[in-house]
């Protein structure tokens, strides 16, 4: 494995670069792209932090990680203390250090960023979490049993956070996950080369070691409904079922072979390890010309996977480069790996061969319109701008909405009719007594850290609810 430019000490305004696999190398494997700071690099970067009295960075972090404090402890060589203080707010630092969109959160607010690069908080966080994993994770002491039973639905970041927080407070927690593996999007969505699955599994093991019972292969709504769980004696329930329902373009020909939803593509590759087919049993087929439709992180992940599977890949996005919603870092990574962009273009129709496999698609050119009141520009089709291009694989990555199974089987649960999201207050309370929800199922597709933040707030509210006099029955 080759590493790019090691970190030479640079000006105070510049951060220590992240060592990565070279593009021509990494596009041939599924190993992690960002290799992580060495201890020395992490210290160099930590040097740059000013330990602000009023740390603005902290305001940018959705879970309020005590940033200057952990960086200070790290500099004093107190690694275990540093990680412990992060973990008071963020139970999954090895994950957040890798996939948090830091540039729009903690690092966006960092004062260092006013002139030059902000402190690379996420990379230091990742270093510490990786250090801890190598040195043995401490299991914190548990509060005495409260005798209360809690059901958590979905083992994504929101559900794992709620389960961990409530079990530590002495409640008996059962986590129901529909798939045969926990982690939610961390396992089935985000690819190995951005987030190695051993790390996700370690975090799930940690939650289990805290005393949470994890039941895999339990689709709530089918094997048990929420009202049934309540009747069986659960005192409170948290719904963290995510936003896993794929959306479609609605263009004619979308049911042809070779057209995948982003979720199908990601599940085959990440969850079922189809990139190791035929060693693993689940297959995936990408042809020579892959078109990914969409412009977010999900689209970027699908494109980068396709490149690793040996295809020529272009990305069709209906707006222009400036509007691409994906993280800058991921756009750059994808471009370095050979992704081609087709901006201001949208799909119109798919054509198949006689076997029912997609062979070409018709697209239309788009143009941006005047910004509306919210400042966002609309797009419209340009008449007569149709063009056809050959394609043998299409990946539709234009968004996900919540899976409706729970909503359909929980009578009276208030749901947003337009987006299918569960309606909650700031602390995650739904309109049903004892039933809480949070993460993507309440907000629509968002981020790992926002799902964890929602989990934290809900866990606090659930604890208060459980400890108040008569939780069940009224």
């Amino acid at each position: 494995m080759t590493e790019s430019e090691p970190a030479a000490p640079r000006g105070k305004d510049e951060d220590v670069p992240m060592p990565r696999q070279e593009p021509h190398e990494r596009v041939k494997n599924f190993k992690e792209v960002a290799l992580g700071y060495t201890e020395e690099m992490a210290h160099q970067e930590a040097e740059r932090c000013l330990k602000c009295k009023k740390p603005l960075c902290r305001q940018g972090c959705p879970v309020d990680v005590p940033i200057p404090e952990f960086i200070g402890l790290f500099q004093e060589g107190k690694y275990a203390e540093a990680i412990a203080i992060i973990k008071t707010k963020n139970a999954l630092p090895a994950i957040c250090g890798r996939v948090c969109p830091q540039e729009g959160q903690c690092q966006m607010k960092c004062v260092r960023g006013k002139k030059g690069d902000p402190v690379n908080i996420g990379r230091i966080e990742r270093f510490l979490a990786d250090w801890e994993r190598e040195h043995g994770v401490q299991i914190p002491p548990k509060a005495p049993s409260t005798g209360k039973k809690v059901a958590v639905i979905g083992a994504g970041p929101a559900g794992l956070t709620v389960a961990a927080d409530l079990v530590k407070l002495g409640h008996q927690v059962t986590l129901f996950e529909a798939l045969h593996v926990g982690g939610g999007v961390l396992s089935y969505g985000i690819p190995e080369f951005r987030l190695p699955k051993v790390i996700v599994q370690k975090e799930i093991d940690y939650v289990q070691r805290l005393g949470v019972e994890i039941k895999l292969g339990y689709l709530i709504g089918r094997i048990e409904t929420i009202p049934e769980l309540m009747k069986e004696g659960y005192d409170a329930i948290f719904i963290g079922s995510g936003a896993g329902l794929p959306q479609w373009t609605g263009c004619p020909g979308e049911n042809l072979g070779g057209i995948y939803s982003a979720n199908e593509f990601l599940i085959r590759v990440n969850l079922m390890k189809a990139y190791e087919f035929p060693e693993k049993d689940t297959p995936i087929r990408v042809g020579k010309n892959v078109v990914v439709i969409g412009g977010g992180n999900v689209a970027m992940d699908c494109a980068r996977i396709s490149l690793r599977l040996g295809a020529k890949v272009s990305l069709l996005y209906r707006r222009s480069r400036n509007e691409l919603p994906a993280r800058r870092e991921e756009i750059e990574n994808a471009e370095e790996e050979g992704l081609e962009f087709k901006f201001l273009s949208a799909p119109a129709e798919f054509y198949g061969d006689d076997k029912g496999w997609v062979r070409s698609m018709r697209c239309v050119k788009m143009e941006l319109t005047e910004p509306d009141a919210s400042g966002r520009q609309g797009v419209r089709q340009m008449a007569g701008s149709d063009f056809e291009m050959p394609v043998d694989t299409v990946i539709v990555a234009i968004g996900q909405t919540p899976n409706p199974i729970i909503q359909r089987t929980t009578e009276g649960l208030q749901v947003n009719p337009k987006h299918g999201t569960i309606v909650v207050d700031a602390d995650g309370r739904t309109n049903l007594k004892g039933v809480f929800a949070g993460g993507d199922v309440a907000t629509g597709a968002a981020t790992v850290i926002s799902a964890m933040g929602a989990g934290k707030r809900a866990a606090k509210a659930m604890h208060e609810y459980l400890m108040s006099e008569t939780p069940r029955g009224e």
Binding site: H180, Y218, W248, G257, M272, W357
Partner: protein, 280 residues
């Protein structure tokens, strides 16, 4: 978790029934629903229809036809061994109620789950006629169960070695008797034929569509089918649909999209001797 095989029953050549320990699933199963079975860690997720359940005993049964790598491998599991994961019940339960006279038509391996429908329809007070379709006499199974669960049993085979040859028997039944509902489970081509036959008689006809599936819970969309011109997900909107509205031709094409890979997988497994060494 362990899903122990408590009974292995050879139904016919390459057709096997497993009864597995799964108390939580057994307690919630209904006719028409299915399971996702993973034989061993790292294995494929295969959808198989529930063909019986016993909440008291805590077991659920499914039957499979050895057609590809995973089902062939499943066939090597013996009584007492355990499966890595079984998820279920998935999909919507069948609409079982008193319709009057019900015609249940089953083909090939799907006869096993069909008989659960015959049984439930009979228990709901219907007069049940069950048609068992098979390739030939040696492929016929569960005849005794069919007789126990139905008022009348008719047998038909492709080659005429069992019962009547082809679809003639079914046509005769429809010509001579009145039916209020028809339930069909079998190969897609057969469900299409039966739906075409019942259409002129305007008998509501329910088919179980079997697209490729992965998660079986509405996440991936690989199971999308067209019914009445609308896109539906086989796993969460089905698996049962109106046979007079389903686009069977599209389904057949979509089932074949991974054919070369499936063949490769199957051939590799067979040439490796169907080895059991990677499981405990």
């Amino acid at each position: 978790m362990m899903f122990k095989i408590v009974t292995k029953r050879q139904l016919a050549y390459k057709k096997t029934l497993f009864e597995v320990e799964a108390p939580d699933i057994a307690a919630k199963s209904n006719p028409g629903q299915f399971l996702i079975v993973i034989a061993k860690e790292g294995g494929e997720r295969v959808p198989l229809t529930i063909c019986d359940y016993d909440a008291k005993k805590g077991t659920v049964s499914f039957a499979f036809h050895e057609v590809g790598k995973t089902t062939k491998e499943l066939g090597t599991y013996e009584q007492g061994e355990s499966l890595y994961n079984v998820t279920g019940p998935l999909g919507n339960p069948s609409e079982i109620k008193k319709y009057g006279r019900v015609l249940c038509v089953g083909g090939s391996i799907m006869i096993a789950p069909l008989l659960l429908q015959s049984k439930a329809m009979k228990a709901a007070g219907n007069h049940v006629t069950t048609v068992l379709g098979c390739r030939g006499d040696e492929f016929l199974f569960m005849k005794e169960e069919a007789e126990a669960y139905s008022d009348e049993v008719v047998i038909a085979s492709d080659d005429g070695t069992a019962g009547e040859k082809g679809m003639g028997a079914l046509c005769d039944l429809l010509e001579n008797q009145h039916f209020d509902r028809c339930v069909v489970m079998g190969p897609v081509v057969m469900m299409k034929q039966v739906s075409d036959i019942t259409r002129p008689y305007k008998i509501p006809t329910v088919v179980t569509l079997t697209p490729i599936m992965i998660d079986g819970m509405g996440m991936c969309g690989v199971c999308r089918v067209t019914v009445g011109g609308k896109m539906m997900f086989g796993c969460v909107d089905g698996p049962e649909f109106d046979g007079h509205l389903a686009d069977f031709d599209e389904l057949i094409k979509r089932q074949r999209t991974m054919l070369p890979e499936e063949r490769l997988s199957s051939v590799l497994w067979e040439t490796s001797g169907g080895c059991k060494c990677d499981r405990k």
